[in-house]
């Protein structure tokens, strides 16, 4: 809790998280403006507009959590502050858990910023509360998954630059299936790739709830990989904390 509190202050009072959240707010403003007014885009059905905005918010919010997480341990290592933390009585697991929790606050901030946009785009069709609930659940699972991945990478990286580069590369790999042509997303292999990837599976699930008005239980199998990804990677990040070393790599 103490580590998380300090990290939250660093993120939010230090201004970095506020700046990133403001940038997300500007991005959502542009997206909302275009889908609501642009002649080329406003053919979108209202539910699709809400879905598009939520998908952007989940993707960017999770990205922010990943960026914050990728700095956690390698950042301390690079600033020369890790050794002082490691000689205190708090365990390495407590240290990582606190930093992970603080990194997730960037997703929470991103979600809070998204609420008014979803409300504005979805007003009058009874989709707002369900869309926000689906976005919160899926976004939180994806953010936990990505932030845990970022912490894992940060724990073993010798420099912050390596940690951030590898994290972003993996994020691109995870996003890649969304850019496949529609034909490639069909068939058993396309379906498998979409389902096994927590990011694509989560976004697909949001679409089923928001656009197709499916019940939460109807496509629950799409939540399997986000839930497993979040649980397994969070547990791995905490477990791997035992091996955190001063210089990166495995503990010696």
């Amino acid at each position: 809790m103490i580590v998380a509190g300090q990290e939250l202050r660093d993120h939010w009072l230090g201004g970095r998280a506020l700046g990133l959240t403001l940038a997300l707010s500007l991005l959502l403003s542009v997206v909302s403006y275009l889908v609501a007014t642009n002649q080329a885009l406003n053919y979108l059905e209202q539910r699709e507009s809400v879905n598009l905005t939520l998908q952007v918010a989940v993707a960017v919010g999770a990205l922010l959590a990943l960026l914050a997480a990728a700095d956690t341990i390698s950042g301390e290592r690079e600033r020369g502050t890790l050794e002082s933390l490691l000689v205190t009585p708090i365990s390495r697991q407590q240290l990582v858990a606190g930093k992970l929790a603080a990194a997730l606050s960037l997703w929470i901030g991103a979600f809070a910023v998204t609420v008014p946009y979803v409300w504005y785009l979805g007003r009058g069709i009874g989709v707002v509360s369900e869309a926000l609930a689906a976005g919160l659940v899926v976004g939180t699972l994806v953010a936990v998954f990505l932030a845990s991945l970022g912490v894992l990478i940060s724990s073993v990286s010798r420099s912050n630059r390596v940690s951030l580069s590898v994290s972003l590369l993996l994020l691109l790999v995870l996003f890649a299936p969304t850019q496949f042509p529609t034909s490639a997303q069909q068939g058993w292999l396309g379906d498998f790739l979409l389902r096994v990837n927590p990011l694509t599976a989560g976004e697909h699930y949001i679409g089923k709830i928001v656009v197709d008005s499916h019940a939460w239980s109807h496509d629950a199998s799409w939540l399997l990989s986000p839930v497993l990804g979040a649980a397994v990677f969070a547990a791995a990040a905490i477990a791997a904390a035992r091996s955190i070393s001063l210089h990166g790599g495995s503990r010696s």
């Binding site: 103490i2 300090q6 009072l13 502050t81 933390l85 205190t88 503990r251 010696s252």
Partner: protein, 314 residues
């Protein structure tokens, strides 16, 4: 008195590199142990093992009767100022100390009170509410020392606390270190390159070379151990100076003899090798020449001479 820090045959290796080998020593309560050694001698690795950052490959140690197999308990009773410690960019000195106090389980109020007291002790009260990034290097080191004391530790490990400081900054830090032992009764392990300060400050010295203990003991013991006197001053009657010069020149182990400038009757004898035997041979030669010796002083060896002799540095 029982040892507060005790190490037995500690070895630390990284893959094929042995950083510390057979490290054994003991320090008692209130002592300041100076840890000396050339760069790469294993000082920092030894401190990291003793502060539980690294696990020993072999051997054992205990800190205040807590065995190394219980690192979490050791961390509660030690204070550490690591080499080249970094500081957060967005905290004031007071916030920094409060945060660490909380990590040691102190309540908010207690951590705030400890932070205020430590800022005063480190001479940083007026800058306590300034960002640490605005501190000079000397102020940061004093803040780091204060941080090492937030849990009122029984043992304090300081790795090169004066590195990069100007002489005034070094004096301020060393004064704080002295206070740790004298006023707080803490045991201090001080890794440094400042031999003069070690001679003045430390009760014991440990010299490491290539990961091994090259010497250990009090400052004077270590100085004598490796850099036994190589010269002496002899006083004879002024009218017997020529006889003394003749006798000493012929004595075994004497390299040169000359009159001391401006001191009638005093001679300076330089021996060919270190050791008290050379002094005895010189005295014997004077006795055989029937020259009465009024005074005989072996020149005191310095710690830096011992260091150079034992480490082959310089």
């Amino acid at each position: 008195m029982s040892a507060v820090v005790e190490a037995h045959g500690v070895r630390k290796e990284y893959a094929s590199l042995v950083a510390v080998e057979d490290l054994s020593f003991a320090v008692e309560a209130g002592e300041i142990l100076g840890v000396l050694g050339p760069n790469g001698a294993g000082k920092t690795t030894a401190i990291r093992v003793l502060t539980t950052i690294l696990s020993p490959t072999r051997g054992s140690f205990q800190v205040a009767r807590t065995p190394h197999t219980r690192p979490a308990e050791i961390r509660k009773i030690i204070g550490v100022l690591p080499e080249s410690a970094g500081y957060p960019e967005q905290q004031t000195g007071e916030e920094f100390l409060r945060f660490y106090g909380r990590l040691y389980g102190q309540s908010r109020a207690s951590a705030a009170a400890v932070a205020t007291a430590l800022l005063a002790e480190a001479g940083l009260t007026e800058r306590g509410h300034s960002l640490v990034t605005t501190y000079s290097r000397g102020m940061r080191q004093r803040l780091g020392l204060a941080r090492a004391l937030v849990n009122d530790p029984q043992v304090v490990f300081l790795d090169e606390p004066t590195l990069g400081l100007d002489p005034a900054g070094q004096r301020q830090v060393l004064a704080l270190v002295r206070g740790l032992a004298e006023e707080r009764g803490a045991t201090v392990l001080l890794s440094t390159h400042l031999h003069a300060e070690v001679e003045e400050l430390c009760t014991r010295v440990l010299i490491l070379n290539r990961g091994r203990v090259a010497a250990e003991g009090t400052v004077s013991e270590v100085a004598r151990m490796a850099a036994a006197p190589r010269s002496a001053r002899v006083r004879v009657r002024a009218e017997r100076v020529e006889d003394a010069l003749g006798a000493l020149v012929r004595a075994n182990g004497v390299e040169t003899v000359e009159r001391a400038d401006g001191q009638p009757g005093w001679l300076v004898v330089v021996f060919t090798s270190a050791g008290e035997e050379s002094g005895s041979a010189a005295l014997l030669a004077l006795a055989e020449a029937d020259v009465p010796v009024l005074a005989f002083e072996l020149e005191g060896a310095r710690l830096s001479d011992a260091f150079l002799a034992m480490t082959g540095a310089g």
